[in-house]
Amino acid sequence: MAGGRKSKPAGPAPPSRTLVLDNGASTIKAGFVTDTTTDAPRIIPNCIARDRHRKTFVGSELEKCKDFGEIAFRRPVEKGFIVNWEAQKEIWDREFFDDKAPQRCDPSETRLVLAEQSNSLPALQLHCDQMVFEEFGFSSYCRVNGPAFNAYNDVQAIFQILRTPDTTIDVPAEVILLIDSGYSHTTVTPIVQGRPLHPAIRRLDVGGKLMTNYLTRLLSVRHFDMRSDPYIVNEMKETACYISLDFKGDLEKTWKGTRGQRSQDYLTGAGIAKDYVLPDSHTRFHGVVRDYEPGVSAKARKGAVSTEDILTLRNERFVVPELLFRPSDIGIRQPGLGDLVMQSLSVLPVGLWPGLLANIVVVGGNSLYENFIQRLQTEILERVPDSCIVRVARPEDPVTSTWLGAASFAKHQHVEKLAVTKQEYEENGAGWVARKFSAGLGVEL
């Protein structure tokens, strides 16, 4: 490893154990790191949920919930930032600090490395720092730009670059263009030597939540009202939606045809239509995607065939993730992902473009849509000169990628440049801490 812990000349040695948190709006990724070990991260629902029997589930207790019908969620993180600390504290307490917490630690002997979304509000950052030191009492802490953590992963491995076994892995990567598409939004972050280039960070306010809500609306217009079942719709979105590589063609294939004459593609499904069997909350707790069988959903609706609730998904499968590339389809006045990348590059020296375009890494749950990488590559190739090499890659697990990068960062000497001790907080004040985090790593390598 290029890293290796170096303790500061003054002050006590840093704690030997670090809690690494990627505290997302949908899930928390959490795990411990020491000099020699990295735990596998746990994925914790970042919500307090209440089911239709009025039973409440906090964080990972949601595993015990079987009936997601009409479930309601309260989320501490809004737009990617921790807003409601009453709820967030409850979840953190139960996951990390209570006696029986699944990942128990003593904050006074632990360092916290926390990933934060770009372009936060100063008040929310202040609240976070105050909670970390004054309420939880971590002995050491740093709040770092989340997307930039991905530069501390083995980026060459993500691009499957062949190398000899004895090659040293350089972290952070020299240049990457990180695209993070999560629950709240989608961001583009150019990163040089682990430093995010702040003037070029751009955000598209399309994320998993909006897409689930959009699918909910389409289903409500065309099938039945599922506004009370966000969990079920989200699952449907994740298993049945895909990104079209031929939007016009796919839309034609899913057109029903004229009134008198149904189109042939519509009748056969053209390989696009799928039947989706909804969970019944008795025997089937998760929905199931099936190949389209003409007439099945209609019969099921009339209760003639079975007790299954089946709906046929057609253009809903691809118009929903299409919002990442054409948000104007529903009236959002923001550029799609292809133009988002170009807007980010446009504020950078042209000399940086080739390096960034050849090292595009996509993370976040939305990158798991079928065809995401191919479509993104196509969109970018349409916008750059022919001579540009555009490479897009997705790490093996795009959901935990930021956490893994943060864990690698926690072992790297860079963490010592940023971490703040509780003592420093008490001596210098929260404003000093905020400025230190805001300044980031600086430019000294």
């Binding site: 209570d98 750059v384 210098n428 929260a430 805001s438």
Partner: protein, 342 residues
């Protein structure tokens, strides 16, 4: 039912069939004000109902729809935190800061409004802005009246777009824009740097909360950061940011050796230029939000049938909703009557 008409948008010819208008789809965006020419044409066909009415209705609906799509939950889930039984950590007393934070019921939109108000105040009255800071702010029942209450995707003021046939222009533009971009970037960067230098003092209270006015003991004082990051003056030659560009390019390409291509590789940015970028401060939340540029304005947004999702070839004159053909438009009528009356 005579009020029910449709506007077919696919062709440019017009007919005088009652309740129908065929107009070319030249509108720049569903969100923008109706074009005067359309209004005239629509008025001719529908007494009392103009296309601008429908357009306004469609705008309002789009805005409302986007707000709903932005919501976290369908219903306001007022879930109280369940009591913990055994094994809870002994509860230490909260500090005053923590008590305030835990009691706050502010949403992100409230916080964003606060921030924008503070930034605005800092421009007009830096002293007052410095006195206020997020740490001291009491939870307010309502956001300041001047600020928008919702962070939902905001309509940017639309500008009429010149309708260039742009499909092929992209590539040419990409090449031609390079120099232009470089120039713009430099100007933007210089402007930004100058602005930062000038506004450094007054910006401080808003982006970075200052705790000196807090009466609560910890944190006690707020010292200036002695090692506050400033642009470094000199560096050893081997300390360049990206020395490794001597390495082979990541993906070998068949035409890598082509001298014509090699000559087009843009010059690598100077080290100090890179350092300035790496040290630049974060943008604010709204500054980082991507907006439509010229590229996007060039393409008219696609319109879809609100019923089945196919292309929205015809338009309900009453509310502006799109439909693919007559049977979907019929299906739309029911909802339209419920919403807007006959």
């Amino acid at each position: 039912m005579n009020n029910f008409g449709v506007v077919e948008l696919a062709s440019a010819k017009t007919t005088n069939a009652p309740g129908w208008a065929y107009v070319p789809d030249t509108r720049p965006a569903p969100g923008s004000a109706a074009l005067p020419s359309n209004r005239k044409r629509a008025a001719r066909n529908h007494a009392g109902l103009s296309l601008s009415d429908a357009s306004a209705r469609q705008d309002a609906k789009t805005r409302k729809d986007l707000e709903v799509l932005d919501r976290d939950t369908h219903k306001d889930a007022n879930i109280t935190i369940p009591p913990r039984t055994a094994g809870s950590r002994a509860q230490n007393k909260h500090t005053p800061n923590v008590r305030k934070i835990l009691q706050s019921q502010k949403t992100f939109a409230n916080h964003l409004d606060d921030y924008q108000a503070l930034v605005a105040l800092a421009e007009t009255n830096p002293a007052a802005a410095a006195a206020l800071n997020p740490a001291n702010a009491q939870p307010k029942p309502a956001p300041p009246p001047t600020a928008r209450n919702s962070p939902a995707p905001q309509p940017t003021p639309s500008t009429a777009t010149s309708k260039r046939s742009a499909a092929a222009a992209k590539r040419a533009a990409a090449a031609a824009a390079k120099e232009e971009k470089e120039r713009k970037e430099r100007e933007a960067r210089e402007a930004r740097e100058a602005e930062e230098a000038a506004a450094g003092a007054e910006r401080k209270p808003s982006p970075v909360p200052d705790d000196t006015t807090t009466s609560d003991p910890p944190p006690a004082s707020d010292v200036e950061m002695a090692d506050a990051p400033s642009l470094p003056q000199s560096y050893p030659a081997d300390g360049t940011i990206l020395p490794a560009y001597a390495k082979p390019p990541p993906a070998p390409h068949a035409s890598d050796a082509d001298p014509l291509l090699v000559s087009h590789v843009p010059a690598f940015p100077a080290d100090d230029e890179l350092r300035a970028l790496m040290a630049a401060p974060p943008l604010s939340y709204l500054e980082a939000r991507a907006r439509w540029g010229d590229e996007e304005r060039r393409y008219p947004p696609r319109a879809f049938c609100e019923v089945c999702g196919y292309w929205g070839k015809v338009q309900c004159v009453k509310c502006g909703a799109r439909a693919c053909a007559l049977d979907c438009l019929e299906a739309h009528r029911e909802e339209c009557v419920t919403r807007y009356g006959l």
